[in-house]
Structures are given as structure tokens and as C-alpha cells.
């Protein structure tokens, strides 16, 4: 982006990403939420257009209604405002694994064109990693069992790679047919929402295609920020800018949190 474009923007790229992710959720969705920007986006959706959205965290909190952003996935706020809290085996076995959750909201340190994500290690050796990341947590089974997943992460050539260092959680694996081969019951990534735009899988090839670009971002910038030859949809849409209300509520949420996301 040019400095002019940046100067024009009344919002940050992260804000545009978070607002876009929030908009992807509807009032009747159930959403399994990871901590960080995915959680911020889900809470923003609930505070704006989707008050009926059901939020579920892997800490076992079902239909929780936090008024501020939790720092951890098991903050007291999440338990106190939940319809119910169940044990960890129950949340994974009865709720996630059984395919009851429509959308899984996930982050990623690296992602490839089939929506496979890495949150485990950076480097070529699992045993001697250059950087040791936190690992799978709930992500592997969220990616497997939610009806759809949405992956939310900043887009750059460091994160959007032809080949990622480790597949922690499967998107479309090696392409069409992989999910079935692995016995994954959900349909896989519905979209990847970034600070640049929105990518969606091609229904035939399963490859992620840029289908939407945020206002004031160029296609050239999108191409330069992707480590593979990114395909652009013939029908590329432009994201509506954040509304005043979306920005106001998002910024209020961010000030109520200690989260360094």
C-alpha cells in the first residue's frame, strides 16, 4: 500500500481483518473459538449483527457471553457468562467430535494453498526446531470436525507458503479426496480471512483463491504477500469498509482487554 492509502485509512489492517471475520458469522451460527483475533472477531459479531451467535470455547464453556476480551481461553468471565460449562473430554467428544459446531475459528503461524495450517514448529526438523510454537491444542480436531472452518491470519510471504514446515491441522490435505481419506467429518476451510482480503477454496481443486479484497488494498499487494502463485477470482469483490459502529465496538472491546494479540 502507498503511504497515501494508509493515510486515508481510518482503520488498521488488523481491524479490517477482524471486522471481516466477524461479518462471516450469522445470528444462528455456533462457533468454536480460538483465543486471540478469532475470539475478538467472534465477540464483535455477537456485539453487532449476530447477538444470537452461540460461542463455544475449548475450556468447556458453552454459549458464553463475555462482555470483554478474555486473555486466556479459560478466563473466569467465560465461565460466569456461559449457559453451561462441561468437562474437557465432554467438550471435545460430545460437542466438537460429534459435528455439532458449525464454524471453527482458527489462527495459524503458517498456511499453504490447501488451507493446511502449522502451529507446531518453524524449521526443517521436528526434533531440533528453529522455533518451537505452542502446538496443536484443540486445532487439529476443530479443523477435522467443525462443519466448516474459518482461518484468520495476517497474510505475508512468511506465513502463506507453498510448503509449510509442519501440518498441525488439516485443511484439504493434498487436495481433493484427502479429507475423506483421513476420515475427517467436517467440510474443511470455508475461507481464510486476512489483513488483505478473503480467500476461498476452489470447489474442484480445493486451492485457495482470492475472492475478496479489502478496500484500499491492491491485487498486486496480495500477490506479493503470498508464497505461492495466488489465483484471483474472476469475480473479485471488494470488502465494504468497517462501519463506524463496528470500529467503535471493536476498539471498546480492545481497551477492555489485557490481551496482547
Amino acid at each position: 500500500m502507498s503511504t497515501d492509502q494508509i493515510a486515508e485509512m481510518a482503520w488498521s489492517a488488523d481491524e479490517m481483518m477482524t471486522v471481516s471475520a466477524a461479518r462471516s458469522l450469522t445470528n444462528t451460527d455456533t462457533c468454536f473459538v480460538g483465543i486471540g483475533i478469532p475470539s475478538t472477531a467472534a465477540i464483535l459479531a455477537k456485539a453487532t449483527h449476530a447477538p444470537g451467535l452461540t460461542l463455544i470455547y475449548e475450556s468447556g464453556t458453552i454459549d458464553t457471553n463475555p462482555s470483554q476480551l478474555p486473555l486466556s481461553i479459560g478466563d473466569g468471565e467465560l465461565a460466569q457468562t456461559a449457559l453451561t460449562v462441561v468437562s474437557i473430554p465432554e467438550i471435545f467428544n460430545y460437542w466438537l467430535q460429534a459435528g455439532r459446531i458449525k464454524i471453527g475459528f482458527l489462527g495459524a503461524a503458517q498456511i499453504d494453498k490447501f488451507g493446511n495450517i502449522n502451529t507446531t514448529i518453524i524449521g526443517s526438523s521436528y526434533d531440533n526446531p528453529k522455533v518451537r510454537l505452542p502446538g496443536a491444542g484443540g486445532a487439529t480436531e476443530i479443523a477435522g470436525a467443525c462443519i466448516y472452518t474459518t482461518i484468520i491470519c495476517r497474510q505475508s510471504t512468511r506465513t502463506f507458503l507453498e510448503k509449510i514446515d509442519f501440518i498441525t491441522s488439516c485443511g484439504f490435505g493434498k487436495g481433493p479426496g484427502s479429507r475423506k481419506e483421513y476420515g475427517l467429518t467436517g467440510k474443511g476451510p470455508r475461507n481464510v480471512i486476512t489483513d488483505i482480503g478473503i480467500l476461498e477454496p476452489d470447489p474442484d481443486s480445493c486451492e485457495l483463491v482470492l475472492t475478496q479484497i479489502h478496500v484500499n488494498v491492491t491485487v498486486e499487494h496480495a500477490l506479493r504477500s503470498t508464497g505461492w502463485a495466488l489465483k484471483i477470482s474472476d469475480n473479485l469483490k471488494v470488502t465494504q469498509p468497517p462501519t463506524e459502529r463496528e470500529l467503535e465496538i471493536l476498539r471498546t472491546l480492545n481497551t477492555t482487554s489485557n490481551a496482547h494479540t
Binding site: 468437562s87 471435545f92 467428544n93 491444542g137 498441525t168 491441522s169 483421513y182
Partner: protein
């Protein structure tokens, strides 16, 4: 059965054992961890879904030779630096790891609590983790032929948890996010529970779990025993301490100085019923 923490740890936790200290963000048994560090117990196989600050301290202090886990970060903050330093640089000693997904490790505890040798789940498949972990196999459903993950039961030598309350008979009540504590306790050979307080009787709570005395080895009264995590209705999570840990733990020198001052030379209050 109600004992001082130092006596309970001395009697029930020994070099070389496998120890699970559970509590999912909530009710993490920090006081017990600090006492294990003070007693210089070594070569432990530490088991925990989220190593969190509790195992970052213990790993940095050199208590562990192996870690079984499923998510090793500082929640909402970033890395666990002592965990990374052990894996990336073998400091203060090499740390063998056995890595799982949350669902997988939760089901290993579930199998352990159920007296079964394994549990099944839809998991691990499509992840490279399957090539790098132990105790997971892919099996066929005998009815449908579907391929599923089987995880081996985990039965720690000792499980340590923290709860809000115990009664005078040694029954334990916890509420709020109850996590994997019941399964971790029931899977273990020995169970230590630290509690905020002893009460005469239990009041109904939303989302509570009771662990009967007859499966518990020792109860220790440790007020604020899960700080800087939290105990619902007792004290809140000290988010600043989680953020501060990022600085304290980043370098070995600041960590060692902190450990020396805050753990090694800060003996536990002796609380007896």
C-alpha cells in the same frame, strides 16, 4: 488425610515418577509445583495439556526429563521461554517431549480414568503429529470399517489438582471450568488435592464436580494455591503476572534470580486444619 503440603509432596512425589498437574487455565496447582521445586525432585515425567507457567517454572528449575503435553504457550501472551529453551537448547537439561492434540491427551486421561487400556477418537489424521508422537495408532472400526485414532491410556503415578473446597471427610468440591481434573485424578495411582479452604458442608454450585475422599491420598490447605491462575469465586486470574512472565522468563539470568527469590527462598505457609 489433611496434611501439610511439604509432608504430602515428600511422601507422595518421588524422583523419576510421572506427575500430572491439571487445571485448564483455572485452578492450576502452582503452590504444589513450587513445593516440588523446593524439594529438588528430579527426573519427573510431567504430564499436562497446557504446560503454562506452572511447568515453565518446573522445567526451568530442572525438575523434568520428559514432558507430555498438547499446547505449550503462554495463553494470550506468547511463548513459554523456559519450555522453548529446554527443547531448542537443552537448558537446563534435555527435555524429551511427547506431543498430542487436546482431544487426544484428554482421551488418554479418560481411558486411564475408565480402567481401559485405550480410547478412540476422530483425531490426529491429516496431521504430521501422527508421525512424531507415541501412543497413538490408527485402527479400524469393527462395525463400519472407518479408520479412527486409538490413544493409549495414561495413568500418572501422581496427579495433583487444586480445588476451591474440601470437607472434613476429605471430599473435594470444585466448580467453574472443571477441565480434565476428574479424569486426571481418577487415572492416577496417588492423588494430592490442594484446596482454598475446608468447609463444613458443600453448597450447590453451577457446573461443579465432586471428588470423593476414597480416591484421594492427601488434602493440603493452600489459600491462593492456584495464583497467578484463578479460583472462581475466590480470586481472579492475575493477567499482569502472565504478561510479566514473558519478561522474567525470557533470559536464564532473570529467571534464575526470580526462582531463587520467589520460590526457593519463599517457603510455603504451613497450614494445617
Amino acid at each position: 488425610m489433611i496434611r501439610t503440603l511439604s509432608d504430602a509432596i515428600k511422601d507422595l512425589v518421588h524422583d523419576g515418577e510421572s506427575v500430572a498437574m491439571e487445571g485448564f487455565t483455572h485452578l492450576i496447582p502452582f503452590s504444589a509445583a513450587d513445593e516440588i521445586i523446593r524439594q529438588g525432585i528430579k527426573d519427573l515425567t510431567l504430564i499436562r495439556m497446557t504446560p503454562d507457567l506452572i511447568y515453565d517454572r518446573m522445567i526451568g528449575a530442572g525438575c523434568a526429563s520428559k514432558l507430555v503435553f498438547s499446547w505449550g504457550g503462554n495463553p494470550g501472551v506468547g511463548s513459554l521461554h523456559r519450555f522453548r529453551d529446554a527443547i531448542e537448547n537443552s537448558w537446563p537439561r534435555p527435555l524429551e517431549i511427547e506431543e498430542h492434540t487436546h482431544a487426544g491427551l484428554a482421551n488418554r486421561y479418560l481411558a486411564g480414568a475408565s480402567g481401559l487400556p485405550f480410547a478412540i477418537l476422530r483425531g490426529y489424521q491429516g496431521s504430521d503429529l501422527l508421525d512424531h508422537t507415541e501412543n497413538v495408532k490408527i485402527i479400524d472400526c469393527p462395525f463400519t470399517g472407518e479408520r479412527l485414532a486409538a490413544v493409549k491410556a495414561i495413568n500418572p503415578d501422581v496427579t495433583i489438582i487444586h480445588a476451591q473446597q474440601a470437607d472434613r471427610n476429605g471430599n473435594v468440591l470444585l466448580w467453574g471450568i472443571t477441565g480434565i481434573q476428574k479424569e486426571a485424578a481418577l487415572a492416577a495411582k496417588k492423588v494430592i488435592v490442594t484446596v482454598e479452604e475446608i468447609v463444613e458442608s458443600f453448597e450447590p454450585k453451577m457446573n461443579s464436580a465432586i471428588i470423593p475422599a476414597f480416591v484421594i491420598s492427601a488434602i493440603c490447605i493452600c489459600p491462593k494455591g492456584s495464583a497467578p491462575s484463578y479460583a472462581l469465586d475466590y480470586y481472579e486470574r492475575d493477567n499482569d503476572a502472565y504478561i510479566a512472565w514473558n519478561i522474567i522468563s525470557k533470559e536464564r539470568e532473570t529467571f534464575v534470580a526470580w526462582l531463587d527469590k520467589e520460590v526457593l527462598n519463599s517457603p510455603v505457609d504451613v497450614v494445617q486444619s
